[in-house]
């Protein structure tokens, strides 16, 4: 079961290194996840590969090295770390990681975005998919929910952490800044919110569409402790960054990670452009993309 691995690796880091062998193993999972993403969106000719591919290392780091998870999924998530995906459109990467961690059968990935599936276009609790605690898809709502869950943990005397992920374009939604202001003002210091700073959104580069500028400065002006992780597609760097963030929790400030990623990472023709934000590859493109990410753990 997925928690086995966790039982072994949990608590191992915190300013410690990770062995090359372990990294290799995780890297294989990263590659397989990319294949899953590509095959899922291709199969239904819809969905969001760009952000998913860019956040793959983050998800693998989080679920395999960072979070302390219980054996079985329950909605309350007491006495374990919990994660919220606010930018719900990158559901493919989450579904792949959840499936391969054992939350539900890997085979079920083939139902993605199809009628009667638990793997809805955007993540939802409505169909009872294990691993998911709130619906997302309409942007800008996830940080508020994560804060609520973090407050519940405090009330419950539960020292585990709450993680959340947000698109950079998503930060244009004002609700985020309500949440950001709230979390700092109320010392919600058991939350680590990561921003997928890929610099892209649907209509183009974020700085063309509506400049976000210096996000570190903005979060800091709102009272957060902010960490910038430059290479968000380097697994080791991501793990290190997340561990560093972890070490900054419990100090009276919420913690943000500005994670520089490349949209479409791992597929050369999808990288550095918003073109693949929400577009699936055709047969030929899929073949090309998969050839750049060789099967490691077996396709679903």
């Amino acid at each position: 079961m997925y928690s086995q691995k966790i039982a072994i690796t949990f608590g191992k880091f915190l300013n410690q290194g990770i062995t090359m062998a372990e990294l290799d193993k995780l890297q294989n999972i990263v590659t397989q996840t990319r294949r899953d993403i590509l095959r899922m969106v291709h199969d239904v000719n819809s969905g969001h590969p760009g952000g998913s591919l860019g956040c793959t290392e983050f998800f693998i780091a989080l679920y395999y090295e960072i979070m302390n998870l219980k054996d079985d999924f329950d909605m309350d998530g007491k006495e374990e770390d919990i994660f919220f995906l606010s930018n719900g459109h990158i559901s493919p990467v989450w579904y792949s990681v959840l499936a391969r961690k054992g939350y539900f059968p890997v085979k079920e990935l083939e139902t993605f975005r199809k009628l009667n599936s638990r793997l809805q276009g955007h993540p939802t609790t409505h169909e009872g998919l294990p691993g998911i605690r709130v619906s997302s898809g309409s942007l800008g709502q996830g940080m508020s929910v994560a804060i609520g869950a973090a407050l519940a943990k405090k009330l419950n005397g539960d020292e585990h952490l709450v993680y959340s992920l947000h698109g950079d374009g998503e930060l244009q939604e004002g609700q985020n800044w309500e949440a950001i202001m709230y979390a700092a003002g109320n010392k919600v210091d058991n939350i680590i919110s990561t921003v997928d700073r890929n610099g892209q959104q649907i209509d183009g580069p974020t700085e063309d569409v509506l400049p976000l500028g210096n996000l570190k400065q903005k979060f800091e002006a709102f009272g957060w402790d902010v960490l910038e992780v430059q290479d968000g597609n380097n697994l080791e760097a991501v793990i290190k960054g997340l561990n560093e963030a972890k070490s900054r929790t419990g100090k009276g400030k919420p913690v943000a990670i500005i994670l520089d990623t490349v949209m479409g990472h791992g597929v050369d023709f999808m990288m550095h452009t918003h073109a693949w934000h929400g577009k699936a590859p055709n047969d030929e493109q899929l073949e090309d993309a998969l050839s750049q990410n060789a099967e490691t753990l077996g396709d679903y």
């Binding site: 709130v134 996830g142 508020s144 609520g148 519940a152 009330l155 419950n156 609700q175 709230y182």
Partner: protein, 316 residues
Amino acid sequence: MKYTDQGKKDTRSGYGAAMTELGRSHPNVVALCADLVGSLKIEDFIEENPKRFFQTGIAEANMMGIAAGLTIGGKIPFASTFANFATGRVYDQIRQSIAYSNKNVKICASHAGLTLGEDGATHQILEDIGMMKMLPGMTVINPCDYNQTKAATLAIADYEGPVYLRFGRPKVANFTPVDQKFEIGKAVLLQEGTDVTIIATGHLVWPALIAADNLKKQGISAEVLNLHTIKPLDEAAVLKSVKKTGCVVTAEEHNFLGGLGESIARTLAVQHPTPQEFVATQDTFGESGTADELMDKYGLNNKAIEDAVVRVKNRK
């Protein structure tokens, strides 16, 4: 009339009183508010349970999201503010993070309708019932007086699932029995009659009773239903009454578009087409004025109900 006013009270104070009780009886109940603690009458809850209160400042969207998150970990959040800011301001947040996510959040909204008075139209939501009733899985409740608001607040704490509870600011007749249990989804037959069914909700229930009384003097026998739960709709009670009386007047502090009246019209259109008249605002915004002036100007009083009854009876 068989009901007597035990003394005018505001329904929001019924909410506040119930919150105080829930604070003592239900350790998992938490409260949220967006800079309107005094208006929501939850000072006592906060004083007794400071750690179980979350002040979000003027940020209703964030409040709804935090409420959703608090359910994860087993809390029962009562998120409260003015009705406009508890619905229209945050519809999409309620929709996705609460309703579609099936979170056990109680959205508690004061100052609904016209009767908050002088603040005027920006604060006088007349569309909240319509908005909330359209959300799959949402329970929509509009109690009629202090006692019933208190009872409803207690009841929804023990009900699992999202609820919209709507109440108001003015002091109005408090006439339901102090110990009457609140049954979600079950209309209360206040007065039996044979000539017409008056289905009222919220602040219009008391005027409906007065109207029934006045109508009796004119020889018209009106049945009065207190439809405190707009969703799920007690179709059985509605149909039973309407089949007997043959015509219906609905009365609500809400736009006649989208509200309780249209829910009744729909139910009847599908099951038993019946002449109906709407006592409701007529697709206008509200305005400043005292509660009573406004209810009179916008035709939300016993007189308007009586007139509607006469109209609808003639259409039988």
